[in-house]
């Protein structure tokens, strides 16, 4: 299995551990991720105003590049990039006039016709590789590590455009984590928003939003929370220092990328996974669950 792969800005800089673990976990499953030549920033939000056609050019260019390179699929790890690219693709398929304008603007040899499928790695792992193959590969597995699967907004909504999972009762990441040997905990806020870019303007606005998710996962017994979005990871991780100040009884909860957990479950060396960059170090929890082998927290 071979796919063009879109890493995105954050995975190349702040979230290198996500990038590395995604590629390695994919490789362990026989999925080759070929980085899209000449990829560019997706824009980080899908433009929501009708007169903002130009902001579609950035994400569209990646779709064109995929098509030109002969790809029919663009695999994405970052949930936000996935959302923006997928919504852009959906929009262009539905609006041939805009597509025509963009094709004229981009001046590429082959006009884009909407033929590329934007897919998230979760989709590829669960549906192309299959849960059974993942289960077989999951040695040593996660040994019953209690994980809360967190989907956030970008993997789920708008449902008709994203079409990855049921937006009210998502389960694809839960299924994957269970196949890795995790004990997936049930908590009510899998699809609640963490605060997203509000943190840039006002961390105070994001705090109750992230707190709602983290505290519910904690109450459900989670030892770590898994995400596919670097912005969710940041908000949920970085804000915890403030949450500890604000809420006396708050218990820290490591926030990890689901691909980091895949790497661990597959017995890969997590040296480049960037655990040391997390604000809440996941290693003690992982070590306690016996998932990190002999590695002990500093």
């Amino acid at each position: 299995m071979r796919y063009f792969y879109f890493p995105g800005c954050t995975l190349e800089t702040k979230a290198v551990g996500f990038n590395r673990s995604a590629k390695e976990a994919a490789g362990a499953l026989g999925v080759e991720l070929v980085t899209l030549p000449e990829w560019n920033c997706c824009g980080a939000t899908f433009p929501l105003s009708t007169d903002n056609v130009l902001d579609l050019a950035g994400p569209a260019r990646n779709l064109v590049s995929t098509a030109e390179a002969g790809g029919d699929t663009l695999a994405v790890a970052c949930a936000t990039c996935f959302n923006v690219l997928r919504r852009t693709n959906h929009f262009l398929r539905k609006h041939p006039d805009t597509l025509e304008k963009l094709n004229a603007f981009l001046e590429r040899p082959q006009p884009y016709a909407g033929q590329v499928e934007v897919r998230h790695l979760l989709d590829i792992f669960v549906h192309d590789v299959g849960l059974e193959a993942i289960r077989r590969r999951a040695v040593p597995g996660l040994g019953g590590l209690r994980v809360a699967a967190y989907y956030g907004c970008m993997l789920l909504r708008p449902a008709d455009e994203i079409a990855l999972d049921d937006p009210e009762r998502p389960g694809i990441m839960d299924a994957l984590l269970a196949a890795l040997g995790a004990e997936v905990v049930d908590y009510p806020h899998r699809g609640e928003c963490c605060g997203a870019y509000l943190t840039v303007k006002s961390p105070e606005a994001s705090m109750p939003m992230s707190y709602r998710i983290l505290s519910a996962a904690g109450r459900a017994g989670a030892q770590v929370l898994a995400t596919a979005c670097p912005l969710c990871q940041f908000n949920l991780d970085w804000l915890q220092a403030r949450l500890r100040q604000q809420y006396a009884s708050y218990q820290p909860l490591p926030v990890m990328y689901f691909t980091q957990l895949m790497g661990l479950a597959f017995g890969l060396d997590p040296a480049g996974y960037g655990f040391e960059q997390h604000y809440v170090d996941p290693r003690p929890a992982l070590a306690q669950a016996g998932v990190l082998g002999g590695i002990r927290s500093p």
Binding site: D166, P167, E168, R169, P188, A216, R219
Partner: protein, 449 residues
């Protein structure tokens, strides 16, 4: 059209024996004409038999219904065929021929005395549809102790004899030898001059309401299930007990428009009865649990019926039901609580209630078999599958086909008084045809409606 050789048959076929079908059948039968009344379930009474008390009078539904069911059961002019479905209808007005499949009950009703010994001794318990899954019934059962006819049927999907080949307890205890495991479906042919469809409604599938728990949260129940909790003959004998742990809920949230008025995701129309039955539910809950608090989330309150507004105000003022104006966005389980996220748009605030139980006023939807019957009869249904009137203003119980009339919730959501009035109207239409046929047997009936 070629005129049939014989005179039209002054015999009515009524399909569905809920309150609409019963009313229509009684009106026609009491006028001296024969009626065949066909019911899918083992006994008659329909949805009304599941209700606790009726708005706005708070009459015990079972008490006002039972005289009707008994009258239907005993009426010399009513041929009642329950546990049966109409499979095919041919012919034309004045001369319809219906093929009816009466399902094998596994019990010879002609010799069964309805003593109930079989039910008592049956070792198998399964969730009861009649109790909306909140109670259990046996594998040989009647819908209720007041069932008409009061004869049991065997649920072959769950009966030990049918599934495992052994048991036969009911056969052993039956004093009249009425158990007949090898009974087969019976096909009946009946002729009728006119037909009334009164096939009723069902509830919007709650599993499609993902944001309200998709049917996965045990203490989130439908309004019809709450009726069973309120009902003295229900699974809790009228005590309010929540399904998860049987405890008495101290804070109950009622959510209106669950699947109604939602053109984007569910049904676009107003289900019309929910405002009133929710007010009734909240009121009756407070009567049963005096220290409990009832909350109602609503978009608009629609009390357009005689004494309905007064009833609502009673719920608010006397029973201190707190109405919150805003549609609920999300319901989820958190420990022992069911958390409701709503808004009170009157005060401009987002609200959260950690409730013990939630009752959803789920949308009324037509039964799938209504569409099938309509196709068979060549009459129209609307986009949702409700029967279409010949003219919604001036011919509300007629259809585009002469001799075929409609009544009750199969036509659209409506309450009991309107249903009964409509059923009587449909009966009057049939009777006017019959009277005309009697006066002028040679008349071209096809033009009448």
């Amino acid at each position: 059209m070629e005129r049939p050789a014989r005179a039209p048959i002054a015999h009515a076929l009524v399909i569905g024996a809920g309150i609409a079908g019963m009313q229509a059948a009684l009106d026609i039968a009491n006028s001296g004409y024969p009626v065949t009344l066909v019911e899918k379930l083992p006994s008659i009474g329909g949805r009304m038999a599941q209700l606790s008390e009726t708005f706005p009078t708070l009459d015990c539904a079972q008490c006002i219904l039972t005289p009707r069911t008994v009258e239907v059961g005993r009426h010399p002019n009513i041929h009642l065929i329950t546990y049966a479905e109409v499979e095919d209808i041919q012919g034309e007005p004045g001369h319809f021929r219906a093929r009816i499949r009466r399902r094998a009950a596994g019990v010879r009703w002609d010799i069964c005395t309805g003593c109930g010994a079989c039910i008592e001794k049956c070792p198998t318990r399964v969730p009861s549809d009649f109790d909306m899954g909140l109670g259990r019934r046996k594998a040989i059962y009647t819908l209720s102790p007041q069932a008409v006819p009061n004869k049991p049927v065997i649920d072959k999907e769950h009966c030990r004899y049918f599934t495992q080949g052994k048991c036969r307890v009911c056969e052993k205890v039956c004093p009249t030898g009425a158990i007949a495991y090898d009974q087969e479906d019976e096909l009946l042919e009946i002729e009728a001059g006119a037909i009334i469809l009164a096939t009723g409604y069902e509830l919007y599938d709650v599993t499609r309401l993902g944001e309200y728990g998709a049917g996965q949260v045990p203490d989130v129940i439908s309004g019809l299930a709450f009726e069973r909790l309120l009902s003295a003959s229900g699974p809790t004998a009228g005590k309010i007990r929540r399904p998860s742990d049987g405890r008495e809920p101290k804070e109950v949230v009622f959510v209106q428009c669950a699947g109604s008025r939602d053109p984007e995701k569910a049904m676009p129309y107003c289900s019309t009865i929910c405002c009133m039955y929710t007010a009734k539910h909240a009121m009756l809950y407070r009567h049963r649990v005096p220290d409990g608090q009832a909350y109602v989330f609503y978009i608009d309150i629609r009390t357009a019926g005689r004494r309905y507004e007064e009833f609502l105000q009673r719920a608010v003022e006397e029973d201190r039901v707190l109405y919150l104006r805003g549609k609920v966005s999300r319901i989820f389980r958190d420990g022992e609580k069911v958390v409701v996220w709503g808004a009170d748009t009157l005060s401009g605030q987002q609200v959260e209630i950690a409730a013990d139980m939630v009752v959803l006023a789920t949308a009324i939807v037509p039964r799938p078999e209504t569409r099938r019957l309509a196709e068979m009869l060549g009459i129209e249904v609307d986009a949702h599958g409700f029967l279409r009137e010949a003219n919604p203003n001036l011919a509300p119980v007629s259809t585009c086909r002469p001799g075929v009339f409609i009544a009750g919730t199969a036509v659209g959501p409506r309450d009991i008084p309107e249903t009964v009035a409509q059923a009587s109207a449909a009966a009057a239409k049939v009777l006017s045809l019959f009277a005309r046929w009697q006066l002028e047997p040679e008349v071209e009936y096809a033009g009448q409606s």
